[in-house]
Amino acid sequence: MILDEEVFAVIMAISIVISAVGIAVVLSPEIPEPFMSLGLLNENCKMGGLPSTVMNNSVLRFCIFVSNYMNKPVLYRVDYKISEDGLLPINNTPLDLSPSKSWHGILNNKENTTMLVEVLVKSSSSRRITLVFELWIFDTSSQSWKYTGIWNHHHVNVTPVIRT
């Protein structure tokens, strides 16, 4: 093997690139694009198999999965709302309804949790309702709750309770 000027220049170029990439990796944040996620699972904490028809005033069991990749610990809140008119939240606006139930928790960075919850399905009139779960986080700079724009929903057909 001959280490002439050209070979030496190529080796030097490779070492400079390796060094630059290494420095970028060391200085970059742990998670370059922070995000959170919310998942709605069935009562066995598995995907799918959610009920499509339920009796009015019945209690349903779900598992809610929340994960935090925000580069910081996060105090979160999951709000459960019942949408009777088919409306859904959007990325920047939550559903304009007061939550029927809320669950709080704190997740460290890169942590996730799955919690088993019970929700009451209650409909005043409509036959088809939407169960909405919104994810909120506590913003420590403004000391207030902030909607993350993340939600899950599940449509159910409500049947009236038959009294015998």
């Binding site: 280490l3 030496f8 030097m12 070492s15 060094s19 060391v26 200085l27 704190i106 460290n108 420590t140």
Partner: protein, 141 residues
Amino acid sequence: MPRVEILIYGFIACVALTYTIVNVLFFVEASDAYTQIYELIREIELLHGKGVDVSGVIRDLNTALELLEAGRHAEAESILKQIRRDVENLKSTADKVHLYLLTTKLGSVIAIACIPVLVYLLLPRLYLYLWYKTRKHWLVR
């Protein structure tokens, strides 16, 4: 109004008043606990930013939240007090941890930045040394 009716109305009023007072007290207690949690999460976030391991206090805070949601305010309060003490302890070591992590990071950056310089300085020497070692027994005829 007959005396019995007055007594009944009085009793109902007493029960209603007690119920309201208890509810208000619970609400004040719970909202006070949540205010404490909001303050604590801010401090935990700052500690995490400095590289301090906050997994222990997060676990305790989750327990306190569960107790609050179960209406067990007194137990939640005592855990919150303990967390406050733990956070204060962590705060006292936070600057040292931050400095250590910063130094480690700076050291890594300097070490990586030295790679091209070392290659430039040492590679020709190493090459010549190996060249000589592999050929030192050669004979020129």
